[in-house]
């Protein structure tokens, strides 16, 4: 029930942001679409904590700020290597242990790894991620586990 309310609220906001019209016709069309989407979501049985991670809502902004800082720093490193010494790269691949318990946490971690340029998660299986990195230093940084720790804190 909580998830249904949350989803319909989100859909209503999304509709209003995208249309920006408040005439009777548009609003009723919007309500109709929201009910249609809710019906489909119930039939598909996808309304659960995975599609609506409510418990993350409060903690996510702080993590996003930290992630954006990391993305900017690693972007600068990669761009430097592109323009100045593209022979000095040291591509490496390694399996990294992860400490997240839930699937949502694992996906957040793998996506964060891919989102920072210079590291791409190639495979996620069980408690391990195979990571390909442009520079072997970034693998060492991942092994040190600051990002891992922050994502695990999100789950609690």
């Amino acid at each position: 029930m909580r998830h249904t309310v949350y989803l319909s609220l989100m859909l209503a906001i999304f509709w209003l942001l995208n249309s920006g019209h408040f005439s009777l016709l548009m609003i009723s069309l919007g309500i109709l679409s929201i009910f249609f989407v809710l019906y489909i979501a119930h039939r598909m049985d996808v309304l659960d904590h995975e599609s609506q991670p409510l418990h993350l809502t409060l903690k996510l902004p702080a993590y996003l700020v930290w992630l954006i800082k990391e993305i900017i720093l690693s972007n600068i490193t990669v761009v430097k290597h592109i323009w100045f010494d593209n022979k000095a790269i040291s591509p490496a691949m390694q399996v990294i242990n992860i400490s997240q318990a839930t699937d949502v946490g694992k996906v957040i971690y793998a996506n964060s790894i891919t989102l920072t340029p210079g590291t791409v998660s190639v495979e996620l299986e069980g408690g391990k991620i195979t990571v390909h990195a442009l520079l072997s230093e970034s693998l060492k940084k991942l092994e040190a586990g600051e990002m891992d720790r922050r994502v695990t804190e999100l789950e609690k």
């Binding site: 972007n75 592109i82 591509p91 996506n111 891919t114 998660s121 390909h132």
Partner: protein
Amino acid sequence: MMDIIMNISSAVFLLIGSFLCVSGGVGILRFPDLFTRMHAAGVTDTLASAMILTGLMLQNPDGLVILKLIIILLMTLFISPTASHALARAAMINGLKPMLDKPADHEGGMSSKT
């Protein structure tokens, strides 16, 4: 006065974003194999698109446009890593071996960790 500041900062964001886009393209040409090239494309995916969208937001700071641009930004931040992951995984499954600095590192890393 406010208009001038907005215009200048928007232009700066757009210029940095364009430079990063070009950098991503140059990186794709310069790096040796698919996996390293994907890292170069990651620059275009993340910071470059974010910079260009921020520049566009500053062009029209009031109105619904800014919220729509924020939605586009969030969507790209969710979708592009998924696409990169699918690409890398498909390449691995089809047997493309990544070019590694130390060839022993891959096997050694695998066996010591598992």
